[in-house]
């Protein structure tokens, strides 16, 4: 990437980050997410890193896409609606540069919003004087902070993928109302719809037991679950519900990220 392009990406990303930091609505959302994450170890007990991973997995699977969509679904739509996108187009900015800059700026904000509360939640583990071990914790023979570090890292990837989908939504929608409707429906598809479709495929025989793992990996939420169970909850992975294997999960998430950013680049404006 040339110096000029790099400067454009940096400027666009900084603008997005600053806009998020200066908007009260986003700060409220971040606070609510932080409280939700903190409530899991605070109310449910933090009997160890592995139990914390297992207790946080489902809330995170739902809340992270919600947060990422809130941060991203209007990112480009707002510029277009305001007419500022037309102005930006008169500068020597490529579509890919613009989308990348917006995405990186918002991704920085989303990652901070997601990872900081998760990191803080981990402090409950050593602070808890009398851990309340869950049945899952008792099933685990080894508890190690590395599981939690992996969980946080995988969650970061999941958040970035969800943001990519949200940014693509923000380029496709033509009005604010259409953007909101599209964001909500896409969010439902991402969080539960694809999983339900796979279950439907399994019951009707469209998806066979052999292909279940790979098919589940097509769902970002399932892929996230698969990676968590493979790397961050290894000792209890066999005791959980069916989940995709690690490699299909990685491919699935990467596919979503690249695919949605490519879609955003194609649709952000016509050349």
């Amino acid at each position: 990437m040339s110096d000029g392009r790099l400067r454009q990406v940096r400027a666009l990303a900084q603008r997005e980050l600053d806009a998020v930091v200066r908007t009260r609505t986003y700060l409220v959302l971040v606070t609510l997410f932080g409280l939700a994450v903190a409530s899991v170890p605070a109310l449910g007990g933090a009997g160890g890193y592995l139990p914390l991973v297992l207790n946080l997995m489902t809330p995170v699977e739902v809340l992270v896409p919600v947060l990422a969509f809130a941060f991203g679904y209007q990112a480009i739509r707002a510029d277009a609606e305001r007419g500022e996108l037309d102005v930006i187009r008169t500068y020597p900015v490529r579509r890919a540069t613009y989308v990348l800059g917006v995405f990186l700026g918002r991704a920085t904000a989303v990652l901070a919003a997601v990872l900081v509360p998760l990191a803080l939640a981990a402090t409950f583990v050593p602070l808890a004087s009398q851990p309340a071990p869950s049945f899952l914790a008792s099933a685990a023979t080894v508890d190690d902070p590395i599981y939690y570090v992996r969980f946080v890292s995988i969650t970061g990837v999941y958040a970035v993928v969800a943001l990519g989908i949200a940014v693509a939504v923000s380029t496709v929608a033509r009005t604010r109302r259409e953007g909101l409707a599209l964001a909500v429906s896409t969010l439902l598809v991402v969080v539960v719809g694809l999983d339900l479709a796979v279950v439907g495929g399994l019951t009707t025989g469209v998806v066979g037991p052999d292909g279940l793992g790979a098919t589940l990996a097509l769902s970002p939420a399932s892929a996230f679950r698969g990676l968590v169970l493979a790397f961050a909850a290894t000792p209890v992975a066999g005791a959980s519900a069916p989940a995709p294997a690690a490699l299909p999960s990685v491919v699935g998430l990467l596919g979503w990220l690249i695919g949605t950013l490519a879609l955003a680049t194609v649709t952000v404006w016509r050349t």
Partner: protein, 247 residues
């Protein structure tokens, strides 16, 4: 300018339609370096569409638009309703656009030009509509594009600021920038324009200097002259001056 110098802007036989609705038909004109070309006409006559085509925001259905410039940013653009990210100050906004253009913007100078030098740190959402338009003009000049396309630059401004905008446009033209603007402010046209293009129902019905237009129609004022050519066009359905020029 020398005789051999190409026009900065050449619009050749441009047509445009939104579906079945034709909004521009056989529009041709050119604009030389440092000239101010003012596009006037009734609402819905196709002015903004033509400006957006020249700015490269819409691809015309037919014909050709050529901007003879080697600049990284060949066209600066002020939309009809300029708006910026509300969370940022004027200085931050211009710096951002400077980064997009790949230049270090002298923010104070840009703001001084449009009369906003006293409020560089004010947030954009605290600006009046007129001040936002002035910021839009300052933005349009970032990167020193050889052609400026301004859609209603004096709309919503008080008479003093209209004078100021006219002076800014004069200065820019004096420095060699070509300015194509659309406006309903006929006084501003009289002050700023070297050539007035009258657009009616998607076609150019007159293209000449404000003085020549007044003399040709015998009208006392430019407003009267414009009304006259538009009325003639509507009654005779004849388009004149299809090949205008700012030279």
């Amino acid at each position: 300018m020398t005789d051999t110098e190409e026009p900065v802007l050449t619009v050749d036989d441009v047509r445009h339609a939104f579906g079945d609705l034709t909004v521009l038909e056989d529009v041709s004109f050119s604009a030389d370096r440092g000239s101010v070309v003012s596009l006037v006409g009734p609402n819905g006559s196709g002015k903004s569409t033509l400006l957006r085509i020249v700015a490269g925001l819409i691809e015309q259905t037919g014909g050709e638009v050529t901007v003879a410039a080697s600049a990284d940013r060949p066209v600066g653009y002020l939309p009809q309703t300029p708006a910026f990210r509300p969370q940022f100050s004027l200085a931050e906004t211009l710096s951002f656009y400077g980064d997009l253009a790949g230049v270090d913007v002298d923010v104070d100078d840009r703001l001084r030009r449009v009369g906003l030098q006293n409020v560089p740190d004010r947030r954009v959402d605290a600006l009046s509509g007129g001040m936002t338009r002035l910021l839009g003009i300052a933005q349009a000049t970032v990167g020193d594009p050889p052609l400026l396309v301004l859609d209603e630059p004096s709309s919503g401004l008080d008479p003093v600021m209209v004078e100021h905008v006219s002076a800014v446009v004069d200065d820019l033209a004096g420095e060699g920038t070509t300015v194509l603007l659309a406006t309903h402010n006929i006084d501003a046209v009289e002050q700023m324009a070297d050539t007035v293009l009258v657009l009616d129902d998607g076609t150019i019905v007159a293209a000449e200097s404000p003085t020549a237009l007044r003399e040709r129609t015998g009208a006392d004022t430019l407003t009267g002259a414009l009304a006259d050519v538009i009325e003639r066009d509507e009654t005779a359905s004849v388009s004149v001056g299809q090949r205008g020029g700012a030279e």
